[in-house]
Amino acid sequence: MTALLDIDQLLDQMEAGLSQALEQRGVESPVLIGIRTGGVWLADVLSKRLGIEEPFGELDISFYRDDFSRIGLNPRVKPSSLPFDTEGRDIILIDDVIMSGRTIRAAMNEIFDYGRPASIILATLIDLGARELPIQPDVAGKTMALESHQRVKLRGPDPLRIELQEAGQ
């Protein structure tokens, strides 16, 4: 069974939240970095919505994951691509779903290996709670909790849609 959440509504929420956060912090020329794969699709949409002309970055965190010692290397790793100098920049880091917070930790470690950014704002489409690390999104399209048998997944890139999967189906 697949229940669809309204993606446009969530994107509106993210756009509004980000505009507000940027204004509050007085950030004038942020750059977007999306985490593969869902975060990259979202960065593409949001850069247009926010009118950011500078091309967005794509981050593959495979080399920074903390579960290498359990599952080995992701065989489908692709090069990260940050088409700007991160040093001193205000970064909007985007992912589709936040749960444990481990992906974001890995992503921030990776970003710092490119240089020292001025700030990072974290925006996610969905916040599922269940955090294992002290990391919180500044902006979330929706906050919700899942039953233990449920999974949520962003499909894309065109059209973007959210799938709620019931385990065993």
Binding site: I71, L73, V77, K78, P79, S80, D113
Partner: protein, 337 residues
């Protein structure tokens, strides 16, 4: 009738087909070779960052076990391991243990006490890394950094990466390997990789004394005349010629070899105009290749160094990954049982 199933490709893959050692390209399919190249592409990007280091092998120990000294190859492995955040120990065995008559098995026993996670092995005897992979404690990954005349898989893969960067793909490519194929572990691995990745033709160009018996069975054609062999080539790979080849009556002189099989501008002009020139190094200028060609616009010899680090990072992280994944799998199976 075959005697056993311990052929190298069973040894170097996990049950799920992941790399756990990297001993030879034999038995590795196109998908896996492509994975290696793709992963290396990602590591090339890492090499362009301010901090050229990823935490994959943090806290792990890599031992460079060089029974045959080679500063160049050892350095790229060392740099690759360090960029993966591993601790690296360089052991130049050629000058220590084995010269005192210690057997390889005994050397290994001593090294195991160091609780290393990976051995990068170079040895003058074909099959030595394979032997080590069979004898060493489970969980330790073995990377072949060149064994006898058998294989030099990381060198061949970095050459494949270079070819892919310049040609985009392998389909339809005509590639020649020129020179001392008989003694070359690099050539054996290259022929295998080019065949598996789908090159149209692999040609070896050499005199009969420098070709192994039944060389065609490796997956190549043979051409004795270099002028003919250069026709339509997309890639020409020059092999290094060791000076001692004159001694065993394999060749009359360097001069005659250079005249017949050395690459100069005239011969290169016979190939496709966009033919690239490669050489695993170190180059003997005026023996295998003319300086004007080695330093010329078609030469990609220097690109090969950057690619060497990326390829080694790729196979080291993939083999270590295979080892840890396998260990986890065994633990969970034991837990269930």
């Amino acid at each position: 009738m075959t005697a056993n199933d311990s052929s190298p490709h069973h040894l170097q893959l996990t049950r799920d087909g992941q790399l756990r050692h990297f001993l030879t390209l034999d038995g590795l399919d196109r998908a896996l070779l492509t994975d290696i190249l793709d992963t290396a592409d990602s590591f090339i990007e890492v090499g362009e960052r301010t901090i050229k280091k990823v935490p994959l092998l943090r806290g792990r120990t890599v031992v460079n076990l060089f029974f045959e000294s080679s500063t160049r190859t050892r350095s790229t492995f060392e740099l690759a391991a360090k960029r993966l955040s591993a601790d690296v120990l360089n052991l130049d065995i050629s000058t220590s243990a084995t010269s005192k008559g210690e057997s390889l098995s005994d050397t290994l026993l001593n090294l195991e006490a160091m609780a290393s996670d990976m051995f990068v092995v170079r040895h003058s005897q074909s099959g030595a890394p394979h032997f080590i992979a069979e004898s060493v404690t489970p969980g330790v990954a073995i990377i072949n950094a060149g064994d006898g005349r058998h294989a030099h898989p990381t060198q061949a893969m970095l050459d494949m990466l270079t070819i892919r960067q310049h040609k985009g793909q392998f389909e339809g490519l005509k590639v020649a390997i020129v020179g001392d194929v008989l003694h070359s572990r690099v050539a054996r691995s290259q022929i295998r990789a080019l065949n598996e990745l789908g090159a149209e033709e692999v040609r070896v160009i050499a005199p009969g004394t420098l070709l192994p018996k039944d060389v065609e069975s490796l997956g190549c054609t043979v051409e004795y005349d270099m002028n003919r062999g250069m026709q339509d080539l997309d890639v020409v790979i020059m092999l290094r010629l060791q000076k001692e080849r004159m001694e065993g009556a394999l060749l009359p002189s360097e001069r005659e070899f250079y005249r017949l099989y050395g690459l100069n501008q005239q011969k290169l002009a016979l190939a496709h105009p966009e033919c690239i020139v490669m050489h695993p190094g170190p180059i003997n200028r005026g023996v295998e290749i003319e300086s004007a060609v080695a330093d010329g616009p078609q030469s990609v010899i220097l690109n090969q160094v950057t690619n060497g680090i990326a390829i080694r990072m790729a196979v080291m992280s993939m083999a270590m990954g295979g080892q840890v994944a396998e260990r986890q799998q065994k633990l969970s199976e034991r837990g269930q049982a």
